[in-house]
Point group: C2
Chain length 500, copies 2
C-alpha cells in the first residue's frame, strides 16, 4: 500500500502542478496579457487543460484509486491519507464522465469568451458577448448531460462548486431567506436614508491602494506568498499553497469598491494560505467548497470590515489619507455610510441586506437558461425585468446589468448561489467563534486580528478540502448550513442602524 500511496501522491502532485500552471496562464491573461494574444492563450490553456484531463482520468490513476479505496479501509477513516483518497476518488469518478474533446473545446471557448466579455463590458453592449454566452450555455447543458440521471439539470453545475448540494436544497434555503430580506428592505425604505454622498467624491487611486495594503497587511496577508494587481473583475487565485494572489478594481469616484473588494479577496487568500502546508500538491490543498471559501471573504469584508469596531480604529487613519474628502465626516457616520441599505446595480458593491437578491436573480436566470425556458438572446431583457421586480430599478446599460460579472464568460454557471450561501456560513461560523473570543470586537477596535486569524486557521483553514462543506459546518458549528444566524445578524445590525 505504501508504494501505491507514493505513486498516488506523485500523480496528484503532477495534477496539482498542471492546475497551478493553468491558473498562472489565466491570471496572466486577466492581469497582464496584451489583447492581441487572446487566441494563442486560448490554445495554450486548451493544451494544458487537455493534458490535465488526461492525467486526471488516466486508467493508471483509476486503478490506483480503486486499489487504494479498498486498502484505505485499514486506515483511520479520519486520517489525511484516507481523506485524500476519498476526495481524489470523488473527483476522478466525476472527471471520467467528461470526454477530453469537451474539455479542450470548453477551455478554448471560455478563454476567448473572457476576452470578448471584457470588450463587451467596456463597450457596454451585450450583443458583442451574446454569441459567446450562447456557446457557453450550450457547453454547460452538454456538460450536465454527462451526469445524467439527475434530479435537476442544474445539479451537476452546483455540485462542482458545492460538493453534495442540490438545486432543491438551495431553493429551500433561499425560500426562507427571501421573505425575511424583502420585509427588512421594505422596513428600511420607510426610514430616512443615512448620509453617504461623501463616498462618491473623488478618491485618487494611490491613496485607496495604500489604505487597502495597510489593512490587509494587518489582517495578516503575507507579501512573501502573495501579491496584489489590478484587473477588470477582482479575483483571488492560488498557484499552490505558497503563492496566493489577489486583484483589485479601483473606482476613483466610489470609495467602497476597492476598499471592501481588497478585504474580500484578502479573505479568500487568507483561507488558502492557512491550509495545512503538508497538503500542498495533494487533493486536499483546496477550500472545502466555494460557499466556505466565500464565507471567509465575506467575513473579512463584512463582519470585520463593515463593523463599527473596525472603523473606530481605521477611520482616523483613512481621514489622514483623504483629509479634504472626509474632513467633515466622523467614524460613526462612516460606519453607517458603508452599511447604507439601498438597492443598486452592481452586485459586488451592493449592501448586505440586498446582496442576496442579486444572487437569487442570477440563480433563477441560470436555472432558466439551463432548462431552456430562457433563450440567451432574451437574457438582457430577462435580467432587466427581474432587476426591476426585485430591486425596483432598471439598469441604465449592460455594463451595470447583464454584463457586470465575469462568471458566465468562464463558464461558471452554478457558482453564484455559493455567494449567498457563503454569507450564511460566514455568520454561522462567526457566532461560534465569539464563544471562544468573546472580546473579538474590542480586538478589532485595536486593529488586532491575530487572535481571529489563528482561530479561523485552527478551526477552518487548516483542514483544506479534507471535509465536505456540510461535514465541516457540523464539525465547526454543530449544525449544517442554516439561514437563521444570518437573518438574526441582518435584523440586529440594520435594526440598530435604521432604528427599526
Amino acid at each position: 500500500m505504501e508504494e501505491k500511496l507514493q505513486k498516488f501522491k506523485k500523480l496528484s502532485a503532477e495534477i496539482s502542478n498542471l492546475r497551478a500552471t493553468s491558473a498562472v496562464l489565466n491570471w496572466d491573461q486577466l492581469v497582464n496579457m496584451p489583447a492581441g494574444a487572446a487566441e494563442d492563450r486560448g490554445e495554450q490553456i486548451a493544451t494544458i487543460e487537455e493534458i490535465l484531463h488526461q492525467k486526471s482520468t488516466s486508467e493508471e490513476l483509476g486503478r490506483l484509486l480503486e486499489d487504494l479505496s479498498a486498502d484505505a479501509k485499514t486506515l483511520d477513516a479520519d486520517s489525511d491519507e484516507a481523506r485524500m483518497i476519498k476526495v481524489a476518488k470523488r473527483q476522478f469518478d466525476k472527471a471520467v464522465k467528461v470526454p477530453a474533446d469537451y474539455v479542450s473545446e470548453n477551455a478554448r471557448v471560455t478563454t476567448v469568451a473572457q476576452s470578448v466579455w471584457e470588450k463587451a463590458k467596456t463597450e457596454s453592449d451585450f450583443e458583442i458577448f451574446r454569441p459567446y454566452l450562447q456557446q457557453v450555455v450550450d457547453l454547460r447543458r452538454q456538460y450536465a448531460d454527462f451526469f445524467k440521471p439527475w434530479d435537476h439539470v442544474y445539479d451537476p453545475l452546483l455540485d462542482d462548486f458545492e460538493p453534495g448540494m442540490k438545486t432543491a436544497e438551495v431553493q429551500e434555503i433561499f425560500g426562507k431567506l427571501r421573505p425575511m430580506q424583502v420585509k427588512l428592505i421594505k422596513a428600511i425604505a420607510q426610514k430616512p436614508q443615512v448620509e453617504k454622498s461623501f463616498l462618491e467624491l473623488e478618491y485618487p487611486e494611490k491613496g485607496q491602494l495604500d489604505f487597502g495594503v495597510e489593512v490587509i497587511r494587518q489582517f495578516g496577508y503575507d507579501w512573501n506568498h502573495g501579491r496584489q494587481d489590478k484587473s477588470a473583475h477582482p479575483f483571488t487565485t492560488g498557484f499552490g499553497l505558497n503563492d496566493v494572489r489577489i486583484t483589485t478594481r479601483f473606482n476613483t469616484h466610489y470609495l467602497p469598491t476597492a476598499m471592501f473588494g481588497t478585504m474580500h479577496e484578502c479573505g479568500h487568500a487568507l483561507y488558502e494560505l492557512g491550509i495545512n502546508k503538508a497538503y500542498n500538491r495533494t487533493p486536499l490543498a483546496d477550500g472545502a467548497s466555494m460557499a466556505v471559501h466565500e464565507s471567509q471573504s465575506r467575513m473579512w469584508e463584512n463582519l470585520v470590515g463593515r463593523s463599527r469596531a473596525f472603523w473606530k480604529h481605521y477611520f482616523p487613519r483613512l481621514q489622514t489619507i483623504f483629509p479634504s474628502q472626509l474632513g467633515n465626516v466622523n467614524a460613526e457616520m462612516f460606519y453607517k455610510a458603508v452599511n447604507a441599505v439601498e438597492p443598486s446595480f452592481i452586485r459586488t458593491e451592493s449592501d448586505e441586506a440586498t446582496y442576496n437578491l442579486h444572487i437569487m436573480l442570477r440563480l433563477e436566470m441560470e436555472i432558466a437558461l439551463m432548462e431552456g425556458s430562457l433563450a440567451v438572446k432574451d437574457a438582457r431583457e430577462a435580467w432587466n425585468e427581474k432587476f426591476k421586480a426585485y430591486l425596483g430599478l432598471v439598469p441604465p446599460d449592460d455594463a451595470h446589468g447583464v454584463l457586470q460579472d465575469v462568471h458566465w464568460s468562464f463558464g461558471g454557471l452554478g457558482y453564484f448561489p455559493t455567494y449567498a450561501l457563503g454569507n450564511l456560513v460566514s455568520v454561522q461560523i462567526w457566532e461560534r467563534m465569539t464563544r471562544d473570543i468573546p472580546d473579538v470586537e474590542e480586538q478589532i477596535g485595536e486593529a488586532k486580528f491575530d487572535g481571529l486569524l489563528a482561530w479561523l486557521r485552527e478551526h477552518v483553514h487548516i483542514f483544506g478540502a479534507k471535509y465536505e462543506p456540510q461535514e465541516l459546518m457540523v464539525k465547526v458549528t454543530g449544525s449544517r448550513i442554516t439561514p437563521e444566524p444570518y437573518m438574526r445578524y441582518l435584523e440586529t445590525k440594520f435594526g440598530e442602524i435604521y432604528a427599526l
Copy 2:
C-alpha cells in the same frame, strides 16, 4: 502524407503550447512571483518540462518524422513543409538523447538556482550561489555526455543555441577579432577621453521609462502584442508569435542602462513579432539562432540607437525630459558620451569596442568549467584574474563580477558566445541593407524606422527558423559569418570619435 502532416502539425502545436506555457511560468517567476513561491514554481516548471520532453521525444512523433522525412523528398526542398519537417527532425534527434529524468531534474535545479542567484546578486556574495552553480555545471557536463562523441565537450552546448556551430570555429573567429580589438582599445587609451560624467547624474525612473517607450513605439514595437516590465536582468520572451514581452532594468544613476537595454530587448521582440504568422505553433516559429537573434537586438541598440543620426533627432527630446541634467549638453556631446570606450565591469553596459572581450572571458571560463580545468569554487578568482588581464580592472564585488549575469543560473552555458557573433552578424546584415536603403541614416535622423523594419522583416524576420543561421547569412549577405565587416565598423566609428 496530408494526414500525417496534419497529425504532425497537431503534435507540433501541442509542443509549442507547452513551450509557451513554460515561458509564461518563467517570465512570471522573474517579473511577478513572490519570493516564497520559488520551490513550488520549480515543481510546476519541472512538470511542464517533463511533459514537454515526453511529447518532444514520443515514439509517435518519431515514427511520424521518420515517415515524413522520407515522404518530404517529393516536396520542394525549400517549401515551408519540407523545412518544418527538417527542423523538427533535427530537434527530435537531439531530444531523444536526453533522458526524461535529466530534464525534470535540470528544470528543478535551474528554477531554484535562478532565485538563489537573485538573492546572491543582491547580497553580492558568490558563496551563496556557488553550490547551485556547481549543480548547474555538473548537469551541463552530464548533458554534453549524452551527445558523445564530440570534438569538444562544449560543442553540444553551443549547438543548442547556434545550430551547427563548433567550439573550434568560434575560437577561430574570436582569434581574428581579439588582436584587432585589443589594438583598437590601446589606441583609444592614448587619446583624451570624451566627456560623459553627465550620464551619471540622477535620472528619475519615470522619465527614463517614458523616453524608452516613446523610442520603441517609433521603432515599431506593438503594445497590442507585447508589454514591458521590470526585472533584475532584462530579457525578452515570447509566448507564441502574438505575445512577445520585454523587461527592463532601471538605474537612476546611469542613464544608458535602461535606454539601450530597452532598445536592445525591443530588437529581439521585433524579430519574433516579424516571423511569418503562418509559422505560429510550428517548429519554424523561432529565430534562426541566438546569434541572428542577438544581431537584431544589437542592431537596434547600437547601429540605430548609438548612431549620430539617431541622437540628432532624439537628443532634443531627451533634453526636454531631463532639462536640468542635460541642459549644458548637445547632441554631438551626447553621441560621443554614449559611445565612450572605457573598460568597465558590466557586460550589458559595456561599449562596443570592449564588449566582445567580456564575452571572450566568459567563453574561456565556460570551456574551462566544462573541461574541468576550472573548479566552480575557484570561479570568482578566475573571473577576477581574467578581468584584470583583459580589461585592466578588478571587480569591486561579485555583483559587478562573476554574479552579474543570469545565464549560468538557468543553465545557459554556451549562450554567451552568440552575443559576440550577434555583433558580427548585425553589421554584416547592416552593410547589405544599406545597398537597398542608402539613405538609412537620413531616415533615422527623422525618426523614420518603417523602411528599415520592413527591410529586416522581408529579408530576415519573416523566415523564422526556416533556414539555419549560416544558410540565412549566405542568403541575405552572400557570405557566412565573418568578422571583417564588424572590424571595419569599429575602426571607422571609433577612429572618427577618437581621431585615431
